[in-house]
Symmetry: C2
Subunit: 596 residues, 2 copies
Amino acid sequence: MFDYRRTHTCGELRSSHIGKIVTLSGWIHRRRDHGGIIFIDLRDRFGLTQLVFDPKTISEELFDQASRLRSEWVISVKGQVIARTEKMINPKLPTGELEIYVKELEILSSSKTPPFSICDEDIEVNEELRLKYRYLDIRRGLVAHNLLLRHQLMLTTRNFMSEQGFVEISTPILGKSTPEGARDYLVPSRIYPGNFYALPQSPQIFKQLLMISGMDRYFQIAPCFRDEDLRSDRQPEFTQIDLEMSFGKPEDIMSIIEELMTKIIQIVSPNTSSISFPKMSYKDCLESYGTDHPDLRFKMPLVRLDDIIEQSEFTVLREQLAQKGCIKAVLVKNGAELSRREIETYTQFVSLFGVSGLAWMKCQSESLSSNITKFFSSELLTDLKNRMQCEIGDLILIAGGEEARINQGLDHLRRKIAKERNLIDPSNMHFAWVTDFPLLRWNTDERRIESEHHPFTSPHSEDLEILNTDPLKVRALTYDLVLNGYEIGGGSQRIHNSELQNKIFEILHLSKNVIQEKFGFFVEALEYGAPPHLGFAFGLDRILMILAKTENIRDVIAFPKTQKASDLMIQTPAKVEKKQLNDLKVQIEPIEIIWT
Amino acid sequence: MFDYRRTHTCGELRSSHIGKIVTLSGWIHRRRDHGGIIFIDLRDRFGLTQLVFDPKTISEELFDQASRLRSEWVISVKGQVIARTEKMINPKLPTGELEIYVKELEILSSSKTPPFSICDEDIEVNEELRLKYRYLDIRRGLVAHNLLLRHQLMLTTRNFMSEQGFVEISTPILGKSTPEGARDYLVPSRIYPGNFYALPQSPQIFKQLLMISGMDRYFQIAPCFRDEDLRSDRQPEFTQIDLEMSFGKPEDIMSIIEELMTKIIQIVSPNTSSISFPKMSYKDCLESYGTDHPDLRFKMPLVRLDDIIEQSEFTVLREQLAQKGCIKAVLVKNGAELSRREIETYTQFVSLFGVSGLAWMKCQSESLSSNITKFFSSELLTDLKNRMQCEIGDLILIAGGEEARINQGLDHLRRKIAKERNLIDPSNMHFAWVTDFPLLRWNTDERRIESEHHPFTSPHSEDLEILNTDPLKVRALTYDLVLNGYEIGGGSQRIHNSELQNKIFEILHLSKNVIQEKFGFFVEALEYGAPPHLGFAFGLDRILMILAKTENIRDVIAFPKTQKASDLMIQTPAKVEKKQLNDLKVQIEPIEIIWT
């Protein structure tokens, strides 16, 4: 019987193999009949190799068999490696200098005609169809490539973290619902009907307990879950690279993360040597970029002009200052060429974020020109030009109003202009640390104070005195990592003192009952000798999206869910048997899902 | 301010460090006051170091501070490494040649008195208390040690599998309930009320889909779930090392697993060189050991005596043969010394398994003696003695009856005797492959045919012809791995043909509807060119139990559940808020759980 075990993969043969008898197995990628000869590109994960069935050199039976072959059938062949004639060499293919003259053929599986082309990667396929036939979509190459990258990233991370003395420890997936954070996925308990486990949104409490356990340095590539209405870049199930260490300070963990990130970048760009990780406080970051996760691949900072406007006669903007607003501007390099109509589109754009208008000035000669220069003395104009570092050919856009809106509007404007004017080198990777976030924030919808990160974050020791009097001003010992405008991870020093932890819970207006029921065990654990500890977590999927240069999170996950949290291939969620619900004592009438 | 960041761990200092100024941080393990001097053993995960507070050499303030220290407080100290005097050297401690003369002390956390002693590892602590205060239990060392072993095992596995060309791919945890197998944990869908996800019992279908995707070689250290009433060695959440490959045959995957197992054993026994992995068919294994997962660290096989008994006058046993039973015997080396009363306890023991009696013969001189030798001719006795390889001083125990009962009874008897008579070298690791299990079995309770492994297992090609006529006789292409009497893993060649897969579902009496609803997508996937593929899976927890020499699965898991699937520390499962259930449209009244 024919042994389908290959001697080489379809990407492996080179001219040094010419003359050898080999066995290859794989899928029929493409078939061409040319001058009575059948040519087949045989495919596996490793590449393509050309097979030749020449009726002059093989039996009629074998040629007949070859004639029946169709796309995506799985075959195994034995044959001889032959050099292609010079003009038949395919320089795009690593195996392009040779072909296999097939002597034996075994058909391992036939295939129906696929619902979309496998061999033509460039054809855009409807994503629902791709997800329904994910196993065919993976064969097309893009997702397979990302899965290999994901594997390398995980292995690199694990080996690096282990070398740094971190121990990978799995924490429970059947956890407990907590009142803070997003909505939990719940799992009904059969043994205790009406009670539920919750799938973890992060291993936060467990990793802190591991520090209290004395494990010293922990990490985990952890599955996490969130039952939220999904944005396009979110999944109900996502993966977090999670770590925690004892007896360290923020700069220690930051330097470990920097080294790890460098190793991760080197997976896709092996020649990367040293990457810089500039640090900014949250306050400075907001001042200069209007956001806490700026894209620093291009400059164009936000520049404050409060004092200059104050001295001008420009009443529209002075009015904003009088109402406790602020004035900020951005410089558009070589933007003086823009027409009024083009500038008008920017004005409309920022109005989406509640910014009421944009004033502009062009630097077409030595001085600034605009319909508003008349409100400024020439000295003020010189000050303004210098502060903006404005040169001939540049454009200044100025906005005034409530600070949060101005920040949001100019942040978006800054990114829009950079994209339109090609200011971003896509091969560039620009990291930055943003530190010292506020500990707490005001949730306008729910009218209550909530944690900016999570309730276990340590306040700055010098801000402890205003914790009662001015809690929203308290800075936290946090450090977020930003890459190319995305917040890819964050961490903090944790509270390791039960009294302070209880105090924070109180400020968050958690009732004593809730604290006891949900966090009682944790506050108790802090009473048995907790070391100073701190940690970090970052989204594996997000980093992969950046490395794989895709905006679609589903392209970096083997079997993702849709934005309605369903799996179109296995068709879940799904009805279950009555008996299963009876076991759980759960009553519910299922709604019908129509799968297309 | 004092910087608590250590220069060394508590297990690191050696005599080469003497004279150095160091900073150590950790927990107070033990404190002794001796001749007015305070000695403290400072502990972290890496070891113990002795601290000395000598009132003659330090300030009164520092000595007072040291006097307040109690067990499990967390401190950081700065001091000088000093050689201990010869008679104070502790050879049991790697740091035993030195001590630290403390110059500065910072108390980082105090601790209440723990509910059990941390420093006295040998004291038996009630397991419920250990689980409730898991973070303190881990500090005691045993579980911490096992977690480090677990980490090493996972990392070794990942690097080895990766070197072999396997790609780690995470499969979904929000999966779909399937009708085969154990009870699923369900997760209610909020978007589609009344529909459910199921947590996976294994990634079986996904890994096969990855082979159909062309990923070629997959592995995963996968969290798996099973909502069953728990035996003491089971957990609701467990971990499976899972792999699958295309275009291979059983011997290929067996040799990969053998190499991996050797690497795993070398973690605890670095000097292990070559381990043997003998192979046995299921049929031969049952014949010789009465079980499909024999402990081969000792011999003592079951020996069939049907023909010899047939020729004897021993009517009691001949009667069993007449009723289609069998006669098997075991040899107890040097067992002739056993009294009738001792043999009687064995008879009672096997009766628990439905074996009606044990006949015995002793070899106290050249010939066999017993109250039943009179039923045998001297030639038959010689035959029997030779077949049993019986020598002077040995005992033969014979049982007859229904084959399954005899196998079960003698298997248990064999292990009981081995344990009692110390025939097992606990440092020995004895692997064996057991191949060619039956494809199907008869479920007596439910009166239906079910899969012995799972419905995707490929039958032996030479048995395909009896699939319809005599399905219970069909052998499967399976290979189970046995270690020291435990089945630690298993795998099989899979069906890669949709017609055969449908045929098997039919034999399992799954209705067309159920096949379509639960497995429709999978059968369809098989129609698009599935490669021959095969895989293996083994329980990480079980292997760790064997390596860590514990019978308690909870000792190898950081935060395990009880046999009632609850977590005593975080107290889950738990009630959730009404709003959460409303979101899911789930109606249920919670029962109250009393946590002690």
